[in-house]
């Protein structure tokens, strides 16, 4: 969630009263934003000899783009508190009657196809408003615009440039300009090199760098306004004294482009000479049929079902009551003239988050107060509680292992490729393990195919513990399985490890016998087998195993005959000393690992 810092005194002035930290926290809580910090009693930074005034740091839900600035927070809270009416945003054409234009060239489709924009006439900035204007662009770039990939905003002093404007895509060598706050003119290539190491801008270069053409907006005198999404030109730079602001935005996502436009103009049209007026511009984009007048700030008109709202909230509100509650959330709503079960709702241009009547229903509930809703207990609809069968089986195995004196470990499921293969003297045949594409560390390269790495690491980290150590785990490993939709499957394993001065081979073998007995499986030896075949439907035996994970002559495979079918369900043995060396273990270790799904 984005966090916005606002000046405490200024906000409370706008809200018409002082709040204690706790009171303001309550207000935020009810509305659904979160007061993260009140810096009043902290060591606030001193800039140019003046200590920063107390700030409120407020966390904003990720879909409330309109509240990513002081203007939005104060406006929405004031409307919520009933202190301000819902703004009536209006488009006002220039007195000339001629709309400003951006003409889009077809080459832009190769790099960044969409452009939009607007003009704020007669804006009155002051230092705080100006900083907020800059900060909102930054917040939108970070969040909705996904680090400027989807949308990038440029703002300009309209009085320094001359429309109509052109949005073009040019070869990096074929244009040059002085970037914002620089003095030297650079072409596209030089500019990439110049900002390569820049802490703020360096991370955006990749968006266009490798494209044969770079997007450029220039005016009718060929003055370059911006190279989106990297940087504006110094020529049209805005300042606190700018009164006519040309806002342009370019991007890959049409919907988000217009959301960004609406947020920018609705928030800062508060400061135009006649508040909430915006001058539209024309986008001329014949090649892709995107010619239009922007921004569209008309409310989205929809309807919401009163029965749906009341049913979900557990309330019995009238259409009028619902309309009144919605007004607190900045909607213009009224009972529908022709259907008693509907309210007509105008969704303001600020509320890009409203997609469905469920969103409107939620806002009714928020305006009513979540914590005031009548509480009930949902019907007991005759559902039946039951465990997942594999988990129930796991619990049996876990319980038996613990009762036999073994302690349960809970290591991680991800591990390094070496831990899963080379360190166990196992080879990766390429068809076994699920591999991760983007781990941050070597610790997380594959999903384990064996429980052994986790158990051995647990022992390694617990060498201070008395010996013998006896630990176990019952959990899932995963394998590639190209037959399945997800190309992989989990498998539930039981594994145990002994660490002591002696090998513990027989102890681990004994644990296997105990577990098999508890799972009603009889041990078949040459003699016993003859006796038990008829008596049980499940039998097991072990065979000497040649496996490089284990010490030669001290390993066995475990075989199960169940329901007439034979399965090789696992192995046990003394670990090979080279395995111990890799895992930095000083004493002998015997392990047991088997697939328990056969017992389901």
């Amino acid at each position: 969630m984005p966090t916005i810092s606002v000046d405490k005194a200024a906000l409370f002035k706008e809200l018409g009263r002082e709040y204690t930290t706790q009171e303001f926290d309550e207000l935020c809580f009810e509305f659904g934003i979160e007061l993260d910090e009140d810096t009043t009693d902290t060591d606030r930074p001193i800039v140019d000899g003046v200590q920063e005034p107390p700030q409120l740091k407020i966390e904003i839900p990720a879909n409330r783009y309109d509240m990513l600035c002081f203007e939005g927070i104060q406006l929405m809270l004031n409307i919520f508190l009933g202190r301000k009416p819902i703004p009536n945003y209006r488009l006002v054409e220039p007195s000339s009657g001629q709309l400003e234009k951006i003409v889009v060239k077809e080459d832009t489709t190769k790099v960044r196809p969409y452009v939009s924009g607007a003009i704020l006439r007669n804006v009155k900035f002051d230092q705080a408003r100006y900083e907020s204007f800059i900060a909102l662009q930054d917040k939108l770039h970070q969040n909705l615009a996904r680090q400027r990939t989807l949308v990038a905003i440029g703002t300009h002093d309209l009085d320094t440039i001359q429309g109509p404007f052109t949005y073009n895509a040019l070869s990096p060598k074929n244009f040059s300009f002085v970037p914002l706050n620089q003095t030297k003119e650079l072409n596209g290539e030089e500019l990439m090199a110049f900002y390569e190491k820049d802490k703020n801008l360096g991370k955006y270069l990749h968006i266009v760098r490798d494209s044969p053409v770079y997007p450029v907006i220039h005016d009718s005198n060929n003055t370059i306004c911006s190279l989106p999404p990297i940087i504006n030109g110094n020529h049209s730079k805005i300042s606190v004294n700018t009164t006519n602001v040309f806002i342009e935005m370019t991007g890959l996502d049409k919907t988000k482009l217009e959301i960004v436009n609406r947020v920018m103009v609705t928030m800062f049209s508060q400061y135009t000479a006649e508040p909430f007026t915006i001058e539209p511009i024309q986008i001329v984009s014949e090649h892709n049929g995107e010619t239009r007048v922007v921004p569209d700030i008309s409310p989205r008109t929809t309807q919401a079902e009163i029965s749906f709202i009341n049913q979900c909230c557990g309330l019995n509100l009238s259409a009028t009551e619902i309309s009144d509650l919605l007004k607190k959330m900045s909607y213009d709503a009224r009972p529908s003239a022709n259907n008693p079960d509907l309210v007509d709702v105008d969704i303001p241009p600020t509320r890009a988050d409203v997609l469905h009547q469920a969103d409107i229903m939620e806002d009714v509930a928020i305006a009513y107060g979540f914590n005031k809703l009548p509480r009930s207990f949902p019907n007991i609809s005759g559902t039946i509680g039951q465990p997942l069968p594999i988990n129930k089986l796991s619990d049996i195995v876990r319980t038996e292992a613990a009762m036999a004196g073994w302690s349960e470990a809970l290591p991680l499921i991800l591990c390094s490729h070496d831990e899963n293969f080379a360190w166990l003297n196992r080879k990766d045949d390429g068809n076994t393990a699920v591999k991760l594409a983007n781990p941050k560390t070597l610790e997380f390269q594959v999903v384990r195919t064996s429980l052994l790495p986790g158990l051995l690491k647990t022992i390694r980290e617990n060498k201070h513990h008395t010996v013998p150590m006896k630990i176990f785990e019952v959990s899932d490993v995963a394998f590639k399985d190209l037959e399945l939709e997800r190309k992989s499957r989990n498998e539930r394993h039981f594994a145990a490890a002994w660490y002591g001065r002696t090998s513990g081979f027989e102890v681990v073998h004994g644990l296997l016998d105990r577990m098999m007995a508890m799972l009603k499986s009889a041990f078949i030896t040459a003699e016993e087998g003859l006796e038990s075949t008829a008596a049980n439907d499940s039998q097991y035996w072990i065979e000497e195993l040649d496996d490089p994970t284990y010490f030669p002559g001290h390993a066995a495979s475990i075989h199960l005959r169940i329901g007439g079918k034979e399965h090789n369900i696992g192995t046990f043995g003394i670990l090979h000393p080279t395995v111990l060396e890799k895992y930095e273990l000083k004493y002998p270790v015997s392990t047991l690992e088997l697939n328990i799904e056969t017992f389901l």
Partner: protein, 519 residues
């Protein structure tokens, strides 16, 4: 080792004054004396004080000098015994190599011998072996007053300081001449021979702990997990088949109405799979797939008979449509939806992917249902004290017709009361797949403040209706991590002390039983 208890009692019999162990048992090691004294003292037959002092004792070399003279004296004697002086090269053969080296030097220093070309000759008629005299005194008195000499002898490693423990012993309140052997335990032998009737039993030490009992243990986190599972079972919930770590973009995100540009889908947050490469579009699981959930096979036969087959192609198309163009009364996100993005394989970032899978199965026969799961999820996060790349998610789902928000709040009150949290409040929040979304805060008595304990909400129509669930079916979903409440309850500050291979086995073995409603 001889039992000293009787000699001690004997030694005390003739006097009421304390005796010293160094007088009474000069040659017995102090450890033996102490063990006998402890036995007697435990029955209050004697009382004793321990007196520690330092004495000067001879080293092995010092003992040799007392017995045979100092090295220099030996050298002098050897030279004196020779008829016509002694060839220097012959000296080691007579007095030994070590004696020759040290002794020759000391004898020169004292002026006892002189050198005459390659021979040694005596320089005096007779000598006094002071070193030996000194050591003799030390042996007798176990002390040496002259600190300078003492330091010199210590340096020559002829004497050393030793600690001597002495006991001052006196009669205790229960002193008796006879030490009656006390039995420590009732044995089968005593039952057979009847000696238990006359035997005297040593008092049991009620202040000490009993013998440690060898024991296995469950992992603390799994104990908390079991408590939560019990709560779910008590409330009629069926466990979901979460044994599926690898998911597709479709099930983990798209089906939950998480847009394809959502930050949660960044490489920074989600583990993507490089091998295997790409998933198939959603389809029915093979009939013999052991992971087919029970919910696909309802307990009640009546439900089974009403089942209609699921149309996976329609589901896929509906999901695309609701994202791209909007559907079911939603305007959608209005962006070009990419099928390949949906077929990317990921490690599930939440178990809600499984809830989605189960709810889709429920659409075959929509009916009231309650599901839960507690299992591992994966996030590509930087590891620190409160974040691991893996943790457990607890998730509950209730599907029913005409559920209300107040019902969700009411349910949460009962659910959390079962784990001892009695004061809840709810904050509006945002989550792409629930609307309304409520963060649950519980009042923590110990911390004296409200803490966030979970997230909840009603799943969005954009998530449910593409599955084919009816419009009036509402579904609650809520979730919390297993680690966070465990850390708060048990004051664990670092998640790595709770999950993973760095967890202390001692902690696992000694962690008490978990009783959420009481702890």
């Amino acid at each position: 080792m001889a039992d000293l208890t009787s000699p001690i009692l004997d030694a005390l019999s003739s006097t009421d004054a304390p005796i010293l162990s160094s007088d009474a048992f000069p040659s017995t090691p102090s450890l033996s004396v102490k063990s006998a004294l402890d036995r007697l003292a435990s029955r209050q037959m004697v009382e004793y004080d321990t007196i520690e002092r330092e004495v000067v004792g001879l080293t092995g070399e010092g003992e040799q000098i007392v017995a045979g003279g100092s090295h220099e004296a030996k050298v002098f004697e050897a030279v004196a015994a020779a008829m016509d002086g002694l060839k220097i090269t012959e000296l080691p053969g007579i007095v030994g190599k070590d004696n020759a080296k040290v002794g020759q030097g000391n004898a020169f220093k004292r002026g006892w011998i002189k050198k005459d070309q390659d021979r040694l000759r005596t320089n005096t008629e007779s000598i006094v072996d002071e070193t030996r005299e000194l050591l003799l005194t030390v042996q007798k008195t176990q002390a040496l007053d002259n600190q300078k000499t003492l330091a010199e002898l210590k340096k020559r490693k002829l004497v050393a300081l030793q600690k001597v423990i002495n006991f001052k012993i006196s009669k205790g309140p229960k002193y008796a001449r006879e030490f009656v052997k006390e039995e420590t335990d009732l044995t089968s032998e005593m039952l057979v021979n009847g000696s238990w009737k006359t035997a005297s039993f040593k008092p049991y030490n009620f202040k000490a702990k009993g013998a440690p009992t060898p024991s296995g243990a469950f992992h603390p986190l799994n104990k908390v997990r079991q408590e939560f599972r019990s709560i779910f079972f008590e409330m009629g919930f069926e466990e979901m088949p979460t044994n599926r770590y690898v998911e597709t973009g479709f099930w983990n995100f798209d089906a939950l109405f998480v847009p394809q540009q959502h930050p949660a889908r960044d490489l920074q947050d989600t583990f993507y799979i490089s091998d295997p490469v790409q998933a198939d579009p959603p389809r029915e699981d093979p009939l013999n797939d052991p992971h087919r959930p029970k919910s696909a096979q309802p307990v009640s036969r009546a439900y089974k008979e009403n089942e209609k087959p699921l149309d996976f192609k329609a589901y896929w198309d509906n999901v695309r449509e609701v994202h791209q163009n909007g559907k079911y009364g939603s305007v959608g996100y209005r962006y070009p939806w990419n099928a390949d993005e949906s077929l990317r394989l990921v490690l599930r970032t939440h178990t809600t992917s499984i809830s989605t899978y189960v709810l889709h199965k429920l659409a075959a026969n929509p009916r009231p249902a309650r599901f839960f799961s507690i299992d591992r999820v994966f996030r590509n996060e930087a590891v620190d004290a409160t974040h691991l790349a893996e943790f457990h998610q607890i998730e509950g789902v209730i599907a029913d017709f005409d559920l209300t928000l107040g019902g969700l709040i009411g349910f949460m009150e009962v659910f959390f009361a079962k784990m001892g949290i009695h004061q809840l409040r709810f904050k509006p929040a945002y989550n792409p797949y629930t609307e309304p979304s409520m963060e649950i805060f519980g009042y923590h008595e110990g911390l004296g403040k409200w803490v966030e304990i979970g997230n909840s909400g009603m799943f969005r129509p954009e998530m449910l209706e593409p599955m084919g669930l009816p419009k009036d079916m509402r579904v609650y979903g809520w979730g919390l991590s297993l680690e966070r409440p465990t850390m708060i309850k048990y004051g664990v500050s670092n998640i790595r002390e709770l999950l993973g291979h760095k967890v202390d086995l001692g902690f696992i073995e000694s962690n008490p039983a978990v009783r959420l409603e009481k702890d």
